[in-house]
Structure formats: structure tokens, C-alpha cells
Symmetry: C6
Subunit: 267 residues, 6 copies
């Protein structure tokens, strides 16, 4: 089938740059100081893996609300690392049954262990372990496998950085089998100032006037300068607003609709 076809063309070894850069179609926009701070912490672990004599394994958990940019930033760290092996593992890749997931992950880490320097990104790791808060349900075998990998020294002369992303951090803590060396938060777009920077950088609006009019209208609709939705939601509102008139007003309406309707999603 189609997914399998896609899969077949992926190289077992090495980085698929296209795949990694596909995670940030607009590039990384510096709409807030936290963007650079996150990248810098991530890269200090890349460097520690490269230089450490005795510790050949490090792990990071990148967490934050839906659409905040976790995947985009993890991919950026992978791209910047210049490691010979960088693998982005997405939920759709690992399959739908436990045995298939375990097999996929085992092969991925086995591949990683073949490279002197590797990065494995477990993207939306809560979906990789089939997490569902109702029950709750999850694949304990996958949880245990990843927990065991996190405490297993790679083979001699092999060094590995594991980056997991999740929008369900509190859930990951409950399992008690995951022990990350560092946890990094990626927040939502905070306020009108960050929103303005993001809209400006998107290049979709004709100019500052349009942007300011949108923000004024938004202030009127919501009565606050707080935003609290992810970068993805901002871009989604922009796309649907672009097809309606007048743009500043329709953009404000769509953003405020998202602000009103989204449930907190456990974050």
C-alpha cells in the first residue's frame, strides 16, 4: 500500500534531509527568544555526545502543547548536528500493532548503533506508545522497550542522542520507566507581540497595517492580549482567512474561534 511504498524508498542509514526539513515548511521563525534558547540547549547535548569519553548516551524530552513547534525544533537540532545518522520516527511509521512497533523500533535503534554518532527522534512519543488517557491504555511492551533502551549503554565506540517530543508530558512522568537527562519546554504563542512577529515573518499579509488591524480586531473579540494557541493554529487560521474578505477581520475571527474552541489537551 501507499504507506509501505513511501517507506520502501527511505534509506535505512543516513539522514533524509527532505523529511527533516519538511517538518518546518516555513523555516524556523524567531518569533520569541525561547526559540534560540531551545536550540542552544539541544545543541549542547549534541556536543556532549560528540565529546564525552565515558557517557555514550544522552536523552532529551521536548514537550509542549499541540502545534507549538516541538517537531520542527527537534528536526532542526537533528539537521544542525551534522551527525552521520539522524532518524525521525513518526507515529505513522511504526505501524498499528505492538509487534510491528517493537520490530520497527528495534531496527531503528539497531541502525543507529551502527553509526559512530547518531540521533533518534521519537516524535509524538505518546502516540508511539499508543497512549490514550481513557483507560488509560498504552502499549506497555513499547514503554518497557524504550525504557530499557534509555538505560542501555550503546556498543563500544557508538554514541547516541535520543530526542523525544510529546504533548502529554505529565503522562510520561507517570510511567516511571522513562528517565530523561533533560526536559525542554516549548510554549504556545503567548501574546499579541509574539503573534505579530509570527504574522510578519509569514509574509502572507500585505503589511503592518493589515497585521495591526487584525490584532486590534482580535483584541475587541477576545478582550485580552493573551493568545495561548500553537504556531500551527495561527498558520491554519491564516490559510482559511486568506480566502475570505476582508482579511484582517476574518483572520481575527478565525484566531478567536480557535482560542475559544480548543480544549486544553492535558497540558
Amino acid at each position: 500500500d501507499f504507506m509501505k511504498a513511501l517507506e520502501d524508498v527511505k534509506p535505512a542509514f543516513g539522514i533524509s534531509e527532505e523529511e527533516l526539513s519538511g517538518a518546518a515548511p516555513y523555516g524556523i521563525i524567531d518569533y520569541s527568544p525561547h526559540i534560540q534558547s531551545i536550540l542552544s540547549t539541544g545543541l549542547s547535548f549534541v556536543q556532549a555526545v560528540r565529546t564525552s569519553e565515558k557517557s555514550p548516551l544522552f536523552s532529551i524530552l521536548v514537550h509542549g502543547p499541540h502545534g507549538a513547534g516541538k517537531t520542527a525544533l527537534a528536526a532542526e537540532i537533528g539537521l544542525k548536528s551534522e551527525f552521520p545518522f539522524v532518524k525521525l520516527i513518526r507515529p505513522i511509521d511504526v505501524g498499528t500493532n505492538e509487534a510491528a512497533k517493537l520490530e520497527y523500533l528495534r531496527r531503528a535503534f539497531s541502525d543507529a548503533y551502527k553509526s559512530a554518532l547518531s540521533i533518534v527522534i521519537l516524535d509524538s512519543v505518546e502516540k508511539i506508545i499508543d497512549w490514550n488517557p481513557i483507560g488509560p491504555r498504552f502499549s506497555n511492551a513499547v514503554v518497557q522497550y524504550l525504557g530499557a533502551v534509555l538505560e542501555t549503554r550503546p556498543p563500544k565506540n557508538r554514541r547516541l542522542l535520543i530526542i523525544a517530543t510529546t504533548s502529554q508530558r505529565s503522562m510520561l512522568d507517570q510511567h516511571g520507566v522513562f528517565a530523561w537527562d533533560r526536559e525542554i519546554a516549548v510554549p504556545a504563542v503567548k501574546d499579541h507581540r509574539e503573534l505579530q512577529a509570527l504574522l510578519t515573518a509569514s509574509g502572507k499579509l500585505s503589511g503592518p497595517a493589515d497585521i495591526n488591524e487584525s490584532l486590534n480586531e482580535l483584541q475587541t473579540l477576545t478582550g485580552t492580549q493573551d493568545v495561548g494557541i500553537g504556531v500551527k493554529a495561527v498558520f491554519s487560521a491564516l490559510e482559511t482567512a486568506l480566502v475570505r474578505d476582508p482579511l484582517p477581520i476574518s483572520l481575527a475571527e478565525d484566531i478567536s474561534a480557535i482560542m475559544a474552541s480548543r480544549n486544553p489537551q492535558g497540558y
Copy 2:
């Protein structure tokens, strides 16, 4: 078997207009302003999918009580889109075991990914995931698969709109793996004014006199102008009342019986 026979004649690619229009045998009746508003929001997403450069995937959740018209309106958006691929996935289609469901869905999305512009309607998505509030039980594998699809970029040059319908919205929020770009509410028939518009448009009653008599009788039986039952229940009462005499009175009786007996169904 019969279902399979039905299945066999459906084209794997393209729209079955008959199937989509079968969802609204009476056509779409404008008995309330919300009808046009819902269709217009839906069509702005159709347009965003068509025109967006960077976001090839959008998703909508259409929610509301039983028989309110969710399926009819989702099908109407599909028909109006003029996209080359529109697929309505009903619970009866996906089969009764988890493996069959996953296989069916995988094939459906694989087909959709072959068209430049596609719409996939996940009708009564709570039944597609086998949701049962007792337990609660559901197919976590299907939930995870749909959750993964919702965050997977379609292949290059492919754009997809996913429309899910549900009468169990609060349940969908609890899973925490579904992140829709927009949620659209379809309310029940609200009051005597909306009911009057609907009965008039149905063309089943001989004239305004009959309709007004029914409404007066209903007011007497229930002591209120609130209605709160779906379009489907109104038509069902109309059908059983038509076989009894006198029509205005039997119609009022049947509508009031439905108003009294129906449990809220979690909405």
C-alpha cells in the same frame, strides 16, 4: 454477503454522488440560519485546502445530537467541493474487527493520497473507533491510527480535507490524540418557529392550517415552545402520524412522545 456485494460496486476512486446525496433524501432544507453558516465555514476549508501552499492538510469535526443533520451537511460540503476524490466512510463500511477496520481505513487514505485534492468523511467517527461509554471501550489501535493520520503531511502535491462527524464530541476530546483545525456544531431543531419551517418545506402536510394546528396541539401537550429533537425525529414522527387520523393531532402526539422519551445521548 450482501454488504460485501454492495461494497464491490463502489469505485475505489472518485465520488459516488448517489451515496452522498442519499444522505439527504429531502435535500438540504434551510429551516434555520445555522444551516448556511455551517456550509460556508466548511467551504472556506475546502478553499484553503485548494489554495494553501504550505499546509496540505486540514481537519474539521462536525458535532451535534442524533439526527441533527451532521451527515447530511458533511455530504453536502463534499458534493459542493467539486474535488476529484470525496469518500464517505460509514461505520457499517469498516467492518467489525479491529484489523479489518485498520485495513479499510488505510486503503481509504491511501486512495485519497493518490488524488491532488481529496475529502475523506469519517461519519459517526465514534462508531468507527468502536466507542462505547460503558467501560469505556473503543479500539485504541483505530484511535491511534486516525490520530497519526491527523498529524501526517500528505505526500508531495497531495492535499486532503478530513471531515469527521460525531454525536459524542465530549468523548473525542478525552482521547487527547485528536487535534482538529476547527470544530463545527450542528444543533437540534430548537423551537416551534424552526419546526414550522421544516414541516412547511417537507411538503407532506396539506397547508399552513394543518401545520399551525399541529403546533398548537403540541404546545398544549408539552407546555413549551422548545423542541430539542433532531430533524430525523421530526420526519419519523411525520411518517407514523401520516397513517393515523386526524393528522394534526397524531403528529403532535408523536412529536411530544419523542420529546418525552429520548434520553439526552451524552450531548
Copy 3:
């Protein structure tokens, strides 16, 4: 085996009148006005199915305590319909494992869809879905299948009436996947007046004197004119009492023993 042998002789298509009339060995006794009212509501749905242009599917839930006459009345509606296809599905018929149940039901509805006008009776539907309040446990696959059938339009030119019976109505409401067009209550034998009518019609007692003596004795034993046991329990008491002397007293004793010992059974 024996059950299978029984099964083999049943026609896949058409009505087994013997089977339907076996549900009421004493015929339908009019011991209370509710009997005619239930039959008349049921028959108005039969008529709606026959005449409706746009709605080819209707569903009824017949509910009430154990032995109240639900199956007898549902079978009577089937007999009176004169539809070419009427099928009574009992718990013993569908088998003991989920796959067998689904296969049986699929075949039954497939058969029904072959007839222009059909009735399918899901007798003791709580047992068909393996409902057990302890847990609670049930077959979610069967629940989902029946839920999907209830919202699936029959094929072109096919019309179907689904009648389910249950002594566990409150449970059925909790699933949230069943949406009946109408719910019909069948109450227990209410009081001495109804009991008297029933005993008289049974023709088992020699005359009014015996009946009155029984009722007087019963009043003495229980101190009330309320009865609240099903028709079945009345007939059961009558059978065991008939073998003992003196009949009026032993009948009163047996009825009062049943009144005292029965647990409410969730109704």
C-alpha cells in the same frame, strides 16, 4: 448437535408462523387496556414502513420486566404485519462466541434486505449483546454492529422495521450507540383486577368462585392489591398450584412466594 438440527430446518427467507405463535401459547389475552395500545403503536410503525417514500428504516424498543409479555407482543406485531419476511432472533440462536454472533446477525440482516418489506425482532437484545451488569461485560463488536445497522439505509426499494425487546432498558440507554425511533413499555400485571382478568381468561380455574377465593387469600397473605409480577410468573404459579390441594389457597401461596422472592432485576 440438537440446536443446530433445529436451526437447519428453519427457512432462511420468509416467516416461520409456528415459531412466532409459539411465543404466546395461550394467545394474547386482553387482561389490561395497555395490550391493545401497544399493538396499535407497533402496527402504526408497520404501516409507516409500508408507505413511507423517503424513510426506509424504522426501529422500536419494547421494554419491560421479565415475563411481562414483550416477546409475545413483538411476535404478534410480526404476525399481524403480513410482511413477506419476519424473523425472530432469540439469544439461543446467535451462538456463544462473538464471531458466530456477528456472522448470524449479518446473515439475518442480509436476508432481510432481500425482501421489499421486512421485520427483524431482536428478542432479549441484552442477551444478544451478552450484557452482564457485573463488570459490566458485553460484546462491544455486536453492540457496534447493531448500532451501525440502526443508522444504515437499507438498499434501494428495501424497507425494514427493527423491533428489539429487553428487560434491561436502562442499560441499553447507556451504550449511546442505539437510537430507536420509539420506545414502548410493557408493564407487569399491576393489581388484583388485572390478575383476575388473566386468571379468568386462562380457563384453568373452574369458575369465578375459585378465582375470588384465591384473590382474597392472596390479599390476606400480602396485605395489598398490588401485584407487580409478570404474566409468566402468574402462569407458573398456576401450574404448580394445580397439583396441590386446595387450589385457591395453594395458588395464593405460590403467587405470594413469587411476589416476595423476586429481585427487581434492574427494572
Copy 4:
């Protein structure tokens, strides 16, 4: 294996008198008026099955504490019935997995349906359905099967009496799928008077002096005339006491040890 060997020699049809009488090695001792009353109620159902024209199926639940005599009395009813088919189904007979249990029960009822008049005894029915209050756990498939049998008319010209015994009556009520025509209680040995009658009838003690001395000693040890242990426990104490000296004292000690140590077992 041994159990299977035992099984092989049992006739598929007809009564194994030895098996039934093995349930009461001491015969039925009339140590209390309830013994005759239970037998008489049971036999009135035997008679009803034999004579009823319209009701070919009756069911009884015999309940009471461990070792009270439920199995012995059910077997006695079977022996006294003189029906051509009487089958005692014990937990050890039905096997340890659900499929085997269902097969065994299906065959047993199929055999019973071949005889014009049959009795099936479901001994310790809570074990036949694998009931365990921890969880609770049980075989829902067996529960549903028995529930379906209890509401299925035997084939033409076949009449059946089902007698179930249980020490877990309250549990049986919770399932809500069992509807017995009558429930019969078998109490424990109540007091010193009943105990005296039982010991006397056992013929194990040399005379009234020994018995009275035991009872006096027991009164001293427990400070009460209440007993509340089953017939089986009395006989067990008698056996261990017989090997010790002096008999009256050791008997009192053993009975009082049982009275003190036994947990109520959910009754």
C-alpha cells in the same frame, strides 16, 4: 486421564442412580422440619412439569451455606422424580476452559431435550460459571448460555426441570440474566436441638449420654445454643473426634473450632 476415564463410563442418557445417591452417603436425615418442606416444594415442580400443557420448562434455584445439604436434596428430588432422564452436572465435570464448558453443557441439554421428561441439576452453579468474587471474574459466555437456555422453550413434546444449587445466591441475582421460577433456601444446622437430632441419626455415638455430654461441653466452650454450621462440618468434626479421647470432649472442641474459624463465605 482419570477424570476422563470416570467420564467415559457414564451413560449419555438415563439416570446414574449411584451418582445421585453418592451425594447423600448417610441418606437424607430429617433433623429439621425444613427437610420435608424443601423436598415437597421440589416435587410439586416435578409434578407441574409432568402435567402442564403449555409450560414445558420450569427452573428452581436451591441456595444456602456450604455443606448445608443443597446437593443432597437436589439429588433426592431427582431420584424421587422417576423421570427417565436425570443428570447431575458437577463443576469437576464441565472442564476448565470456557469452550469445553459450553460444549459439555450444550451436549447435556441436547441429551435432556431428547427425553420426554428430564431434570438437569446444575450443581454449585457458581463454579460452573467460574464465579470468583475477586474481580469479579466469571465466564460470561457460560452465564449467557445458561441464561438463554432458561428462556428457551424445549422442542415439541419435551419437558424439562432445571435445578441449580449455589452457595452464592446474591451473586446470581446480580447477573440479571437468570430468572428462576422459584428459589428455595437450605439453612445451616441452626441450634443444639437440630444438632442433637443429626448426631443421633448418624449412629456414630454410642448413645444419648455421649451426645448430651458433647452438647453440654459445646455450650461451655461457645456460650451459646446457636450452631450455624453445615451438616457437612458436623460430620467432619465427628470423624476427627472419633480418633481422639475422650470422644464427647473432642467432638465439642472440633465443632467449636469450626464454628470459630469459618468465614461467612458470602452468605
Copy 5:
């Protein structure tokens, strides 16, 4: 594998005296009056089985804290019985999956039923049924099988004594399917007097001076004469203390460390 190899050399029939006496490598030490009292009660059941005419089956539950001597005492009863068949069933013997356990137990009881007089010891019966208080989990099939065996008359001319041991008595009561004829408690080492008797009998310490010094030191460390740890823990402390200097002090330290650290283990 090794376990299987061990298994193969065990005789299917008869007593393995080595195995039984392996349960008490130090012999049975009379460090408290309860030792003789337990053995005497056990042997009165041995005698009852041997002599009873009508009751061919008796069962005992031996319960107490970890390492108290339950297995040693049950094995001693078996050795003293001089029955031709005595089988000690340990958790390691029965295997790790339910089917294997059932098969092993079935064979064991089948073997026992071949001997005129048999004893089956179900050692650590809570592990034989896979009891785990978390959940709780256990093998219900094994529970039901043992429950059924406990109420099944052995074949003609066969007599059987079942002795179960457990450190989880309260759990066994909850199942409600086990009905023992007698329950016997084996307490922990109670106080300094019992400890002194035990240490003296062990012959590991050079004389009363050493023992008294240990006890004095222990009193200083714990501030009490209560002990409350099993015989096994005493011997374990003795072994580790023997390798350290000075012995009386290191013994007191190790015993007090055990007294402090042990959790109550559900007793």
C-alpha cells in the same frame, strides 16, 4: 532444561522422602509448644482419612507468615502419615502458564486417586494460583479447578487428605470457592524465649554465653523482647553473622535489621 531434568527423575507414584525431608534441613525443632500442637491436629486428620467410612476426603489449610515453618510442618505430617502416596507440589513445579498448571495438577490428583490413601500438599498455594495482590491477579481457572477438587468425592475405595500452605490466608478467604475442613495457624518466632530455644537447638553457637550476649545486645538495639520474624529469617541472620566478628553483636545487628526492614506481607 534443568528444571525439567529434575522433574523427570521424580516418581509419578509414591513418596520422595528426600524431597519431603529437604523441607526441614535442621529437622523439626520444638522451640515452642505450638509445634507439637500443630503436628497433633494434622495427624488426627491423617487418622480420620484412614478410618472414616463415609467421608473419603478431608482438607486442611496451614497458614502463617513467611518462613514460619509451614512447609516444614506440612512435610513432617506427610512423612509421619506412612501413607503410600504423599506428594509435595511446589510453585516451581507447576510451570508458568495456566494450561501447564492445570495439566500438572490434574495429573497429580489423578495419581493420588490411584492410591488407597493419599496426601497432596499444595505448597504456597497462593503462588500455585498465581496470586498477586496488585490487580488483583490470579489464575481463575486454577482456583476453580482446585475449588472443584475440594468438593469432589474421590473414586470408590480411595481416600485423600489435601494440605494447602499459604502466607496469604486472607486472600484465600476472599475467593469464596475454597472450603477447608480445618485451618491451622503457624505463628512467627514470638519472643526472646522462643528465639533462645531456637538458637540453642541450632547448634551453631558455641554456648549459652554467646546466645545470652546476643539476646542482650538485641534487647538494647530494639528495646523489646518481641521478635515476630520467621524461623527462616533467624537462620539467615545466623549465617551472615557467622562470617563476621564479634558473633554475638553481629547476630543481634542482623536480626534487628530484619525486624526493622520487613514489611508485613499481608499477614
Copy 6:
């Protein structure tokens, strides 16, 4: 696959010194008196196993927070024992399904039983039993197997020391099937004094000045001399800090980030 390849080269019998010493790449650093005390207790059990006549089996539970040094210390005891068979069993070794785990463990103990003197280290035993506090879930078959091994006498002339490590001690107590002869606590790095000793011994910092500056900075950031993180976290902070300037400040920042972010992990 790779893991399997690694596995294949391990000797089934004997000690892999490389593996054991890999557990402490920095050697054992005496940064606190508890280090020697833990090793000495462990070695007294090694000695007891070697010398005991009657007790051929001892077991220890080594518990403490993540990264405290449990595995390193258990491995050190194994290395110091000079026993011919020492096996370190890690979660990654035992596989991901229950049957594989049981097979692996059975083989490991079977190998151990072949040596006169053996040590088996069950490293992170909570992961070996698949423990997950959510549910909670775990492999009861593995729990029961290990519980049975803990109470099974090794074969004649075989002596065994079992050392389990865990960061989830309270969970192990709940199972009620594990009975260790001794429990040994490994605490986290307690305060600035222990931290100073550890940093000094690591040889990564140029001198006391750097270390003191780090500690002063840390005191300023956290406002306390308490530390409470494992040795592993200290080394991890050291590695990432080494790549940043100025070292004393970046070290303090990284340690304080770990102190702030880590959840207690159930300890």
C-alpha cells in the same frame, strides 16, 4: 538483529568481566561512607553463601533512586565475589514478550544451578517484570516465576546469591510474592560535601577553585546545600557543562536545572 548479535557472543557460563565493569566506567568512587557499608553488607552475603551448610540460597534487594549507583554497586559485589558464575541480567536482555522473558530467565537460572557458587543480578528488576504504575501493569507470570525461584532450594551442592536492583522498591513490596533476605538502600548524592567529593574524584575539573566556584554558584541558584540527585545526573551535567563557558557557572546551571525538573519517580 544487532541485539541478538551482541547476545550471541556472551558466554552462557562464567563471568563477563567487561560487562560488569562497564557498569562503572569511572570506577567506584568513595564519595560517601555509605559506599563501603553497602559493599561490606553485600560481601557478607557472598561469604554466607560460600560457607553455609544448610542454606544454599540467599537474596538481596538493592534499592534507591534513578542513577544512584545501584547497578554499579551490584556489579562490584559480583566482581569481588570471585564466584565462578556471575550473571548480570539487564531489561534489554530478556526480550519484549512474556514467553521470551520466562525462557531467558529459566535458562539463566538453569545455567546458574550448574555452578557450585553463583550470583545472578536481576538489574532494574521492575523492568524485568514489565512494571508500569499506570494500570498498574506488569507480567504476573514473570513475577510468579521469580517468586517461585526465590523459595526454591537449588539442587544439591549448588549455592546461589540473587541480587535484585530497583528504583521502585515500594512497588515490589506490594506484590507480596517476593521475600528478600535483606534489603539495602543506595541513596542519592545528599549535599554539597558529597557533591564536592564526587566532582573532585571525577578528575574533569581543573582544581578545587573551579569546584568551589561551582558550588557557590549552585548555592546561589538553589538556596540550599541539599542536592538529592543521582551520581548519574551529576556526571550528565558535567558533560554538557564542559562544552560551555564559563565552566563553573554552566555546571551550576545544569545541576540546578536537573534538581528543579526531575520528578520524584516514586521514590
